[in-house]
Amino acid sequence: MWTKRRVRTREVLCGVALAIVMTAGAAWADVTTERPGSILILPKIVADGTRDTLIEITNTSNTLANAHCYYINSAPLDPSQPPGPTNPSLWQEVDFFLFLTRQQPTQWFAGSGRTVSPLDPPGSLNAGLDPGRIPAVPPGFQGELICVQVDSGGAPTGGNALIGSATLLGPESDSSKYNALAILGDEVDGDDVLNLDNAEYRACPSELAFTHFAQGTTDPYIGDGSQVISRIALVPCTHDLENAIPSRVSATVFSYDEFEDRLSAVIDFTCRLDADLDNLSEVNPFLPTGGPVFGTFRYSRLIPSNVCEGGTNRREPCSDDSDCPNGTCTGVVGLLGVLESAHAASDGSSARSSQNLHTIGEAPGATITTVAVP
């Protein structure tokens, strides 16, 4: 039948197009979710009373591996109010150290942390070699975790030994899991500034891409009355933890439906973004289009803008040098993220799933300034 053939052709063409788009970047960014790295980033950590996060980190090498980990709390200043210009994020950093023996996995809950105790009975939650004292995050925590592989003296090192994952638990029995983003280290110089420039560490991607159900669309399996609601958590690659200066990010969103129709928007945030897909900008590019059958599935790309390097608008997003008096529009802030989707039935039951975002291209130049260790 004509319709089927056309659909099949379109499916093939879309698939090919997708493949072409995804390979067009040629240079794969070495931010990966399936290989060990020297920097792990978990963009979504929640411990707010209804949800908690089980964090798992493993040393994949045959030698002792140390890590200097940083929680960054981006909960709003007033947790009872929605975030906004008058209710900015805390951007509160707390850090601690992990010590992992060869091939050792470890885990802890963000909401309760982990203590050092040789008396944990076998089979208990904290049984095993304690990786160090891990503080509990404060109530209402929403943020990220960054772990940097370091040597015994606390200096960053490029061992590429770490993998990790986070399981978001709750509400109630619901859960979803995603892999930590790992950044490979090359010639790490051991100072407090980690350059993601393909020389010291691998570069951050220049784009993020993900496929997803259109926001609010009906789940094709659950059927009528159901909804798929997705929530994205985005963090910049650039972090200044020593000076506690949150990064400003501006990202252009292109979202395509199955008819290649494109919607676009710009999203701006500082420090971290954690919002439903229909709450990112005034124009929502993630809406369903093309009716109930087509247009329910989308392919979206996020492209972060550069930021001013030097000058009076330093660290502000820019499009060209004219936006940067006395500076240049060459600063890289980068972008990483994770998407969590809730498939909700009409009776209120739901199930969540998380997915890592795909990475495209590379944008060398992001930096992570860690806290100086005495």
Partner: protein, 445 residues
């Protein structure tokens, strides 16, 4: 460049030089920098009302440090009963209340960057049978497994390693045992802690900081807490080629370098001026400067009056013989009020002296030069200059909120002999001026 012209006469210049030199005269004793000797001039334990002193001490370095600590028990006792006392009235009018001087010493080991505390009344040891919040000893710092599959893995004891020892590079409190103060009813005295090497000889490591908090439960939901920083005496380093020069690095010595520790291994710790080659530690101050509110002065903020007590301890002490044969001094007081009017008095200090300011010169507090009745103003500045051995001390200002006047307090002190209990109170450090030229010595066993 902004310019201003000033006429600087010779007298002004001399005065300016004097003043600059006076202020800049070396480090001296200090209450806000790490040191090799820390002194807590006032340690109190009492049962009525319940009062105890939280002694906090910390090692600011990344290497473990050993301390040799000395309590000086300055509690007076009745000659007839042996009970602690304040005045002869406590002895039933029969015995005499004789000041005491007895020392007990103990050892403490601190691991790297470790804050440590104990209560004067209960001490701290392996069993730690005191408060439920007292962690038992030893507290092992983090070491690493020396052998086996867990080699290099952090550990706190050998059992965690499975095979081989947990090598903590001496990072353990093993050897620490802090006794309670040697009085069961009432204790007053001082504490001195000296940084030592593992063989007990003095060490020149300026790594110790300390704070003491005297907490008193006054009942009826009223707690009094008074904190002061321990007084630190820093160890000197001197240029090897010219021992009259104190230095902090080889660069300070130039051709007279290198810069080496001035602390030798004998048991006599010499405190003296910087240009004295024998001085292993910084000097005690020439003059103590105590700002205070005159006793009996009404509180400008609210109800009640203020009373201040002063605790003085000598810089010199002989712990080796356990005798108060050092540490004798006469404290000369020069008191200024807000009219720039000046009064003076003096008082002998042997071993330890704690007294209300208005009892320094008289038993009648209301007629003391330290009382508001005599001075007429609220604020006072007292300069305290020791003649004999050097002195250091701490002050405590207390509010009397029960309606008593200074006359009432005087009657109480002189009448039934009971120690008045004032609350709430504050502890604060005394300022210092100048550089004491004569040496002070602390002799340790």
């Amino acid at each position: 460049m902004l310019t201003m012209k000033r006429v600087v006469g010779p007298l002004t210049l001399a005065a300016a030089t004097l003043l600059v030199a006076a202020a800049g005269a070396g480090a001296a004793t200090t209450s806000d920098q790490p040191a090799a000797i820390v002194i807590y001039p006032k340690v109190v334990y009492d049962t009525a009302p319940v009062s105890d002193t939280i002694i906090e001490i910390a090692n600011t370095s990344t290497s473990p440090i050993d301390l040799h600590c000395f309590y000086v028990n300055a509690t007076s006792h009745c000659t007839n009963t042996g009970a602690p006392c304040d005045t002869g009235l406590d002895c039933g009018g029969v015995g005499a209340c004789v000041p005491g001087w007895a020392e007990i010493d103990f050892s403490v080991t601190l691991t790297r960057n470790q804050p440590f505390y104990w209560l004067a009344g209960t001490g701290r040891n392996r069993s730690c049978a005191a408060a439920s919040t007292c962690e038992p000893l030893p507290l092992n710092g983090t070491g690493v497994c020396a052998q086996g599959i867990l080699a290099g893995q952090p550990c706190t004891n050998a059992a965690q390693c499975g095979v081989g020892p947990c090598v903590g590079a001496d990072q353990s409190n093993a050897g620490t045992a802090v006794p309670p103060v040697p009085e069961s009813l009432f204790f007053i005295g001082e504490l001195k802690c000296v940084a030592v090497n593992s063989d007990g000889t003095p060490s020149g490591r300026n790594d110790l900081i300390g704070t003491a908090t005297i907490v008193t439960d006054l009942g009826d939901g009223l707690i009094d807490a008074q904190s002061y920083n321990a007084i630190g005496v820093q160890a000197n380093s001197r240029c090897d080629g010219d021992t009259a020069l104190v230095c902090s690095s080889d660069d300070d010595c130039g051709a007279d370098g290198p810069c080496v520790s001035a602390v030798d291994s004998n048991n006599i710790l010499v405190l003296g001026p910087n240009d004295d080659p024998e001085a292993e530690y910084q000097y005690c101050p020439e003059t103590l400067v105590l700002d205070h509110i005159f006793d009996g002065a009404p509180d400008p903020v609210g109800e009640g009056i203020w009373m201040t007590d002063l605790t003085l301890v000598p810089c010199s002490e002989n712990f080796a013989l356990g005798q108060a044969d050092l540490g004798r001094s006469t404290a000369q007081f020069l008191v200024y009020n807000e009219f720039e009017q000046r009064f003076s008095t003096s008082r002998p200090v042997t071993c330890f002296d704690e007294t209300l300011l208005s009892n320094i010169d008289t038993r009648n507090n209301a007629r003391s030069i330290f009382s508001v009745n005599v001075s007429g103003t609220i604020a006072g500045q007292s300069l305290i200059r020791p003649v004999g051995d050097g002195l250091i001390g701490v002050a405590r200002a207390m509010k009397v909120v029960n309606g008593q006047t200074i006359e009432d307090i005087s009657a109480q002190v002189n009448g039934d002999g009971l120690r008045p209990v004032f609350a709430p109170g504050v502890g604060y450090e005394i300022h210092q001026l100048g550089e004491r030229q004569p040496q002070d010595r602390i002799v340790i066993p």
